[in-house]
Amino acid sequence: MNQKPAIVIFVSSSAPTDLLQPVLWGMEEEGIPFEIHQAANSSIGQLAKQAADSSPLNVGMAQGGDAMVALHHRDLPAETPLFTVNCKNAHSSSLRLLGINAARLVKGQPLAFYEHSELNTGPGNAPQAADSRLEYLVALVLDEVLKEGYR
C-alpha cells in the first residue's frame, strides 16, 4: 500500500491529533519523512506493528484513542513495541525524543535517552565526560579517605 520511503504513523480515529506534533518535529529534525494514516481503533501495540509492517523503512508508530503513542519495528513481536509514551503526561520534549528515536532507528544511529538528550554534544560526549570527571574525583577522594581509615 505504501511505496515511498517513510515512517508510517497510524492514528486511530478517536485520537486527538495535535498531541502528536512534537513527535513529528523530532522526525523532521532528523530528516526522515513520515506519513500519517487514519486507522480503526485497535490495541496500540497491534496498530503500531501494522504501521511498521507497512513502512518501507520497517519503522512505524501509532497513536491510540487513549493518547498513548507507540514506536514499533517490523522485526519486533507485536506485543512488545520498542517504546510507548503517554502523550497526556509526557513533556513535549520526551515526545520529540520519541520522534528522534524513530528516525534514528531508521538511520541505525544510537538512540537518545532523556537524561542525555538535552546535553548531547560534541566529540566524546562532552557533558558526560565532565560529569564523570567529577564522579571520578569524588571516587578518588573517597578512596583516599577509606584507605587512610583502614590503615
Partner: protein
C-alpha cells in the same frame, strides 16, 4: 611414590599443578587449577588463594590435602609496575573564539561570513550588514523561523544562525532562504555578540573544508602571518567534523601551551644523564638505551611522573618491609600519545588533541618474603611447604614442556605491570630480565586516547573484540562477520559500538567509530608489547642478537590475548625466530608453566641426590 603440588602465585592468578613422582624419578602430572590471587603477590593473604587452588586441583582426583607430601611455591621476583600520563601541550582559548563541534543534525549548507547579533536585536539590525543570528534555547524553533523570515522580508541580510537547541533542521525547513545553521551550542550565552564570525556546514558525509584550513580562516578574517600561526589549533580542532563556527574577538587569543612536564634523571652503571619529559617518548627511550644498563631512574618531584615513582616505591617498600630509599625505579617505558582535552574557554565542549607522554615504571628488589607465605600455608593445612625455585628458571622449565621446542629458548611473559623475559642457553644457563610497561600501560593508553576516563571499560576494550549493533537483532563484529540474536537487543545498545565481553555487550559511549577504537587499541598494544618484546629479547639474547634465539614462547595471561601473539610473531618474523603461544605439557596452553617447572625441578633434584 609422592604426590607433589607446584604453586605459582602471580600478580593476578594463582596456578597449581599436582604431580606424582615415581621412585624412578619420572613425573606424571595429574591435575591443575587456576584461581584469582588473593591479596598482593608475596603477602600472607595469598595463602587463601593457594589453598583454594589446591582444593580445586585435588577435587577431581578424589584426594585430600593431607595426601600431598610437599607443596612447592615459587620464589617470585618482586616486580611492580605503575603508569602515569604527563600532558605536554594543551589548547587554551582566552575569550571564546571558536565553536567547532559536531551536532548530529545541523541545518542548511555552505560557508557564511557575517557579524554576530542576538536574536532579540534582529528587528534593529541594519540592512547594510550581514548577520549571523544567535538563537538562545528559550526561543521556540517556530518563533525563531518566523522572526528570521520577517527580518529577511524586511531586507535584513541574514547569512547564518547559531542555535542552542537541537532544532537547526526544523528552523532551516521553515526559512524562506536557505542559510547554514549550527545547533546544540550548549554555552550560547558565551558567544560574543557584534563580532565578525564565520559559519560552515558541510554536505552530509563531508567535513568542513574552509574553516579547517588556517589559510582560509586567514582569508576570511584578513589575518596577518602571526595571527594565522595562532589560529592553527582551532583549524586542527575543526578538522574532520561537519559544522563549525569561528568568531574573531579583538582580544581573543588562542594558545597551544606547552606544560612544563619535568625531568627524568637516568642513572646508568657507567654514566648518567637527564631528559626532559616533554622531549617525547623517543628522546626518553633513546637516553635510556644510551645509559643502560640502568641503575636507577628518578622523576622530578611535583610532577605526575614523580608522584607515580614515589607511589610505586612506597608500595614495594611496604610489601617487602624495606625502607623506601632502598627501593629504586629500575626501568621505564615511555610512549607518545594523544589526549583529547576540553578546550579551556570553549563554547560547546570542544576538544582538542593535546600531546602527552605515558610512562610506565618498574621497581624490583631482591626477594619477596615468600618464606613467610610458605610457613603460613604449612600452619593452615599441615602439609610441608617450601620455596621451590627462582620464578624465571621454573617458567623456562615449564615452557620447555611445550611440544616442538628446545634450547636456546626464550620465554616472554607479558603481564599486567611488567614485561618479563628469560632465556635458557644450550648449556642450560638461565638469564632473565624485567621491563616496565605491560597490560596496565595499554589500558591507560586506550583510556587516554579515547578520552573515556573509565578504566574498567578501557580494560574491556583491551581484552575483547568490538562490534557494532546494526539492528535490534544483529551485531556486526569488527572482522565484518554478522551475528544474529533471537531476542531483541537492548535499545540502549542500538547503533552503538560495543565491546563484546564475556558478560555480554557493553556500549562504548564515545563519538569515535569502531575503526578508530580498534586502531587505538591495536596501536596501544603495539607501542607497549611489541616494543617491549623486542627490548626484552635483546637484553637476554646472546650478544644482544635476537637471531641467536631459536624459539620464543609466550606465557602468562597476555599470551591468551586475541591479537598480541600475532603482533609479536609478525615483529619477530624478520629475526627468523619460531614464535608462538606456549602449550605447557602439550595441554595447558600458556598457563601453568611455573607450577609445572617447580615439580619437574624437584623431581630432578630428588633423582640427583
Amino acid at each position: 611414590m609422592a604426590y607433589i603440588a607446584g604453586v605459582d602465585v602471580g600478580n593476578n592468578t594463582t596456578e597449581v599443578a599436582v604431580g606424582e613422582i615415581r621412585p624412578s624419578g619420572d613425573v606424571r602430572f595429574l591435575s591443575s587449577a587456576i584461581v584469582r590471587t588473593v591479596g598482593i603477590k608475596g603477602t600472607i593473604q595469598n595463602a587463601m588463594g593457594v589453598i583454594d587452588a589446591l582444593d580445586t586441583a585435588l577435587q577431581p582426583l578424589a584426594m585430600q590435602r593431607r595426601d600431598l607430601s610437599l607443596i612447592l611455591i615459587n620464589e617470585a621476583t618482586p616486580v611492580i609496575g605503575d603508569v602515569a600520563m604527563e600532558t605536554i601541550t594543551e589548547t587554551v582559548i582566552t575569550e571564546s573564539a571558536m565553536i567547532g563541534h559536531n551536532p548530529a543534525t545541523p541545518g542548511g549548507q555552505g560557508l557564511a561570513f557575517g557579524e554576530t547579533i542576538s536574536f532579540d536585536r534582529l528587528t534593529k539590525a541594519s540592512p547594510a550588514g550581514r548577520w549571523i543570528v544567535v538563537i538562545p534555547g528559550s526561543v521556540d524553533f517556530q518563533k525563531a523561523a518566523e522572526h528570521l523570515n520577517e527580518a529577511m522580508g524586511a531586507g535584513v541580510q541574514i547569512v547564518g544562525a547559531i542555535a542552542q537547541n537541537d532544532d537547526a533542521v526544523l528552523i532551516h525547513n521553515r526559512l524562506l532562504r536557505s542559510v547554514p545553521i549550527v545547533d546544540e551550542v550548549a554555552h550560547i550565552d558565551r558567544v560574543p555578540l557584534g563580532m565578525p564570525a564565520a559559519i560552515e556546514v558541510a554536505a552530509p558525509g563531508r567535513a568542513v573544508e574552509k574553516l579547517s584550513n588556517p589559510y582560509d580562516i586567514a582569508t576570511i578574517f584578513q589575518l596577518d602571518a602571526e595571527e594565522t600561526r595562532r589560529i592553527v589549533p582551532i583549524a586542527r580542532a575543526i578538522m574532520g567534523i561537519r559544522s563549525a563556527v569561528v568568531i574573531k574577538t579583538p582580544r581573543g587569543d588562542i594558545q597551544e601551551r606547552r606544560i612544563p612536564a619535568g625531568r627524568l634523571a637516568v642513572i646508568g652503571e657507567q654514566q648518567k644523564t637527564e631528559v626532559q619529559i616533554d622531549e617525547g617518548a623517543e628522546a626518553i627511550m633513546m637516553r635510556v638505551e644510551e645509559v643502560s644498563p640502568l641503575k636507577e631512574i628518578r622523576g622530578e618531584p611535583g610532577t605526575n611522573v614523580g608522584g607515580m615513582f614515589e607511589q610505586v616505591r612506597k608500595v614495594m617498600a611496604e610489601l617487602t618491609d624495606q625502607p623506601v630509599h632502598a627501593i629504586t625505579v629500575r626501568d621505564i617505558l615511555a610512549v607518545d600519545t594523544f589526549k583529547p582535552q576540553k578546550v579551556l574557554g570553549s563554547l560547546a565542549g570542544e576538544y582538542a588533541l593535546g600531546n602527552a607522554v605515558g610512562l610506565a615504571a618498574m621497581v624490583e628488589t631482591h626477594k619477596l618474603p615468600m618464606q613467610r607465605l610458605a610457613r603460613k600455608i604449612e600452619e593452615e593445612i599441615h602439609v610441608p611447604c617450601c620455596v621451590g625455585g627462582v620464578e624465571a628458571e621454573m617458567a623456562i622449565r615449564g615452557a620447555l614442556t611445550t611440544p616442538g621446542t628446545r634450547a636456546p629458548l626464550a620465554i616472554l611473559d607479558l603481564g599486567g605491570g611488567s614485561t618479563d623475559a628469560a632465556l635458557i642457553t644450550e648449556a642450560g644457563t638461565v638469564g632473565s630480565i624485567h621491563l616496565a610497561g605491560a597490560g596496565e600501560m595499554v589500558t591507560l593508553l586506550i583510556d587516554t586516547e579515547l578520552g573515556l576516563e573509565d578504566k574498567e571499560l578501557s580494560e574491556d576494550i583491551k581484552q575483547y573484540p568490538l562490534g557494532k549493533v546494526e539492528s535490534l537483532f544483529h551485531i556486526r563484529h569488527e572482522d565484518g562477520s554478522v551475528q544474529f540474536f533471537q531476542k531483541p537487543l537492548d535499545p540502549k545498545l542500538f547503533g552503538r559500538v560495543v565491546v563484546l565481553t564475556d558478560g555480554g555487550a557493553k556500549p562504548i559511549n564515545t563519538s569515535a567509530g569502531l575503526d578508530k577504537i580498534a586502531t587505538v587499541r591495536r596501536q596501544a598494544k603495539h607501542k607497549v608489547f611489541v616494543h617491549n618484546a623486542l627490548r626484552a629479547l635483546k637484553r637476554v639474547a646472546p650478544a644482544g642478537n635476537i637471531r641467536l634465539i631459536h624459539f620464543v614462547v609466550l606465557v602468562g595471561g597476555s599470551a591468551l590475548d586475541f591479537e598480541i601473539p600475532k603482533m609479536i610473531s609478525d615483529a619477530l618474523m624478520e629475526y627468523a625466530v619460531v614464535t608462538g603461544r606456549a602449550n605447557v605439557r602439550g595441554l595447558e596452553g600458556p598457563r601453568n608453566a611455573v607450577a609445572t617447572g617447580l615439580i619437574l625441578a624437584h623431581a630432578e633434584r630428588r633423582a640427583g641426590s
